[in-house]
């Protein structure tokens, strides 16, 4: 094995000034948690960097898992050597020899972080490069457009040699920027919006509105599956609130304002989300709105709907195109579940021509004509079921009858 360590570069958290130490400690904790399946690893934290000694663990599966950890801007498989010339030269040669192609161009890039190292950067570039050239006759130097960039990073206690820089997920460590609630419908957009909010360091509690029996249990299972997928990125149990929305929805439908029903529903949903957010200590509501995508996402609709919320509404997808959103959904692994054909509560009672520019005064007037609405909203919040989900198969508490343990036993 040529590479014995992984060098992890932390992303935006390095611009964090005084809070930096706290962020780095949190990052280390989350990386360790994400890699808990690999007991052979040891973790080393230094200024703005994390190193993982692979020990006897294989690189590829560790790297695969690292790609999903928020707060990592990039990482590299590295070879660690003693910080002295001969060891660095041998290490550099070993790294170059690990490449399968026989003919390639390369350049050396030395970063001399330990200023006490006897040779300066220019001299080191030459000393290392010459050693590789002498020993590998088919390798040539190309400083402008090399196939391989051979990096040498010299620190006081060790030097590191590497060629590959793997992009990480970026963002901030999960939860390091506070907590928000997020609306999770089961469609393609909302899981992507939640993932983007999570990547920005927001801890998320998801809220799903169901209209059983108008929506099926499968629709709910689908949302649970999506939440489990998102919990993989959270690295800790992920909360899903299931709000019974049937009564409100049927009551709103009775006002016979077909073209405004979606507007009315969304306003009630935001009111419920706000109350759940207050209970959870969350300071924002994340939605999957993308400007102009459907009638409820025109600027006019966003205005009339958004006014119900005092908390900031975060809309990570607002300026994205549908195709970009789909590509992201595929990348984060939620697409296949999202396209399962179960109706959610917004696709029920959908009028032929929903309002694209609802009138705020009319909407408020309709709502005033339902004096029991605040009470119904409070009741929905009260009857909300909360699940904690983790990536594997278990969910607590499970709403369906045979206990999971028993069911597992059957197989």
């Amino acid at each position: 094995m040529t590479f014995d360590h992984i060098l992890i570069r932390l992303g935006e958290i390095t611009v964090k000034g005084r809070n930096r130490g706290r962020f780095e400690a949190e990052m280390l904790k989350q990386v360790k948690h994400a890699l808990r399946a690999f007991p052979g690893l040891t973790f080393i934290r230094t200024y703005g960097r994390l190193y993982i000694a692979l020990g006897n663990e294989p690189y590829e599966p560790v790297a695969d898992r690292l790609k999903d950890v928020f707060g990592i801007s990039s990482f590299s498989p590295v070879k660690r050597v003693e910080p002295e010339l001969q060891a660095i030269r041998e290490g550099a040669l070993a790294v170059m020899r690990s490449f399968p192609q026989r003919e390639a161009t390369f350049k050396v890039k030395v970063s001399r972080r330990w200023k006490g190292f006897p040779h300066d950067t220019m001299a080191m570039n030459h000393l290392v490069g010459a050693h590789v050239l002498r020993n590998m006759p088919n390798i040539k130097v190309d400083v402008r457009n090399p196939d391989i960039e051979l990096n040498v990073e010299i620190q006081e206690h060790h030097a590191y040699v590497y060629c590959e820089v793997v992009p990480g997920a970026g963002g901030f460590p999960y939860g390091s920027n506070g907590k928000a609630v997020a609306l999770l419908s089961g469609g393609i957009d909302s899981p992507v919006a939640i993932w983007m909010a999570m990547r920005k360091g927001l801890e998320i509690e998801a809220i799903h509105f169901h209209s059983y029996p108008f929506t099926s249990k499968e629709a709910q299972d689908k949302v649970v599956t999506l939440a489990k997928k998102l919990s993989h990125y959270a690295g800790k149990p992920f909360r899903l609130h299931l709000v019974p929305f049937t009564d409100i929805q049927t009551r709103l439908a009775q006002s016979k304002q077909d073209h405004l029903i979606i507007t009315l529903m969304r306003r009630s949903m935001l009111r419920i989300a706000q109350q759940i957010a207050q209970r959870a200590g969350a300071l924002a509501i994340v939605t999957g709105d993308s400007l102009g995508q459907v009638a409820s996402q025109t600027l006019g609709s966003l205005n009339v709907i958004g006014r119900t919320s005092e908390l900031p509404l975060l809309r990570p997808l607002i300026a994205m195109d549908k195709l970009e959103i789909i590509a992201m959904a595929k990348r984060i692994g939620t697409y296949e579940t999202s396209i399962l054909p179960y109706e959610d509560c917004c696709t029920l009672f959908v009028p032929k021509s929903p309002a694209t520019n609802p009138n705020l005064r009319v909407v408020e007037h309709i709502e005033r004509a339902i004096p029991e609405l605040p009470e119904m909203i409070a009741k929905a919040v009260e009857e909300t079921e909360t699940m904690e989900l983790v990536p594997d198969d278990s969910a607590h508490p499970v709403p369906s009858a045979p206990a999971v343990a028993e069911e597992n036993d059957w197989f």
């Binding site: 099926s216 299972d221 369906s400 009858a401 036993d409 059957w410």
Partner: protein, 395 residues
């Protein structure tokens, strides 16, 4: 004498269900009685179990869950594979290839298709019951739409060269390969995907699962014409309310069988060697298949087969039964008739030999002591019966 006190050596006919499987079947039967097609929560629970059972098959055999159909067992899976594929792809050609040592649930569908006008090439086998891949190659034509060769022969235990046959068909996407894996699952590795198999049959009761449950693997992209039409269950390929308890029990049995396959194979090979050596040493006995392990004629680890020319096999079966041992003549399905075994005739045995076959098949409960007890009783039976052998057939 009760079944429990018998030495049971007929696992290839049917195996004792495992205690965990019985528990699963009974609990699921009690609790999950709703129809998986029902919309209510009861139906959803039943449906969920079916999909878990499907995922389990997919995972254990390194295939996609969507490639597995639940059936009532080996016979149905074989019929669906053969008739289903041939009727779907009859426009591609009218030629079929099948080995001469298949189970009746494969052989008979091919005979029926021959009567319908398809041209069928029946592959010969060598003296140990093995198909020669060169014969498959020679038989292939541009008209060939289906080749069916079993993995392990149910009578003598010959392991057929599926990997080689799969290779021959690799560049022939229009020729499908069906493999009857009823006797092999849990005893030998079955790398279905690696082999390039298009259709693969499994029966649950051969490895401790419930009767009336089996699978057909249908490689993604292969289409079948259904045999049983109705409510459209199993993607329309096998209508009829799913037998949820049996399917879940079968999934459990499959996991137990496949997870312990390597150690089972090793243990059974050891026992088989002991058994084959013991049987071969007895007078008037002709062992089917090689006496030593021979890589050119691989045999399944759990089957020993031999002939006692001049003796009626049912007399041996009943005599052993009196001593507390259950074995089989030919395969259980055809053991009631008196005719010589088609498999043994195909292997070139004479009529006297082919009409006197005995099959011993091993299970997880057997150990050296059980094998020795069987050998001792078999020897006693043969000693008693040998003087009664029919003269004209005495060697």
């Amino acid at each position: 004498m009760s079944m429990q006190s018998m030495l049971y050596f007929d696992h290839s006919a049917s195996s004792p269900p495992k205690a965990e499987v019985i528990r699963t079947v009974s609990e699921v039967m009690e609790r999950i009685y709703a129809n998986p097609s029902s919309l209510h929560q009861g139906g959803a629970e039943a449906r969920k179990l079916l999909e878990r059972a499907r995922e389990q098959a997919g995972r254990l055999l390194d295939t996609d869950p969507s490639e597995w159909l639940f059936t009532s067992g080996g016979t149905e899976s074989n019929n669906l594979a053969i008739f289903g594929a041939v009727r779907r792809y009859r426009n591609r050609g009218r030629h079929l290839i099948v080995s001469s040592v298949e189970h009746p649930s494969v052989a008979e569908p091919f005979r029926a298709l021959e009567r319908e006008g398809f041209r069928v090439t029946v592959l010969p086998v060598g003296p140990t019951g093995h198909v020669d891949p060169a014969d498959v190659e020679a038989a292939l034509t541009d008209e060939t739409i289906l080749v069916s060769v079993m993995h392990v022969n149910n009578e003598v235990g010959a392991v057929q060269p599926i990997a080689e046959i799969g290779k021959l068909l690799k560049d022939r996407p229009r020729t499908l390969l069906h493999v009857d894996g009823v006797q092999s699952v849990g005893k030998l590795p079955a790398p279905i995907r690696e082999w390039g198999v298009d259709l693969f049959t499994i029966s649950a009761h051969k490895f401790g699962g419930p009767r009336g449950a089996g699978w057909l693997y249908v490689r993604s992209g292969v289409e079948l014409e259904p045999l049983v039409r109705g409510g459209g269950q199993e993607g329309g390929l096998r209508s009829g309310t799913e037998n949820v308890p049996a399917i879940v029990g079968a999934a459990k049995a499959l996991r137990l069988a496949i997870e312990s396959q390597p150690e089972r194979e090793e243990r059974m090979r050891r026992l088989r060697r002991r058994l084959a050596e013991g049987v071969a040493a007895m007078p008037g006995v002709v062992l089917s298949g090689p006496r030593e392990d021979d890589p050119r004629a691989p045999m399944a680890p759990h089957i020993v087969h031999f002939c006692c020319p001049g003796l009626k096999p049912e007399v041996i079966v009943h005599s052993l039964e009196e001593l507390g041992v259950f074995v089989s003549t030919k395969s259980a399905c055809s053991s009631k008739d008196d005719k010589p075994s088609a498999v043994l005739l195909a292997m070139g045995r004479d009529a006297a030999c082919a009409a006197s076959g005995i099959r011993i098949s091993l299970g997880d409960e057997h150990d050296e002591a059980a094998v020795d007890a069987l050998l001792e009783r078999l020897e006693a039976v043969l000693r008693k019966l040998t003087p009664l052998r029919r003269k004209e057939e005495r060697h």
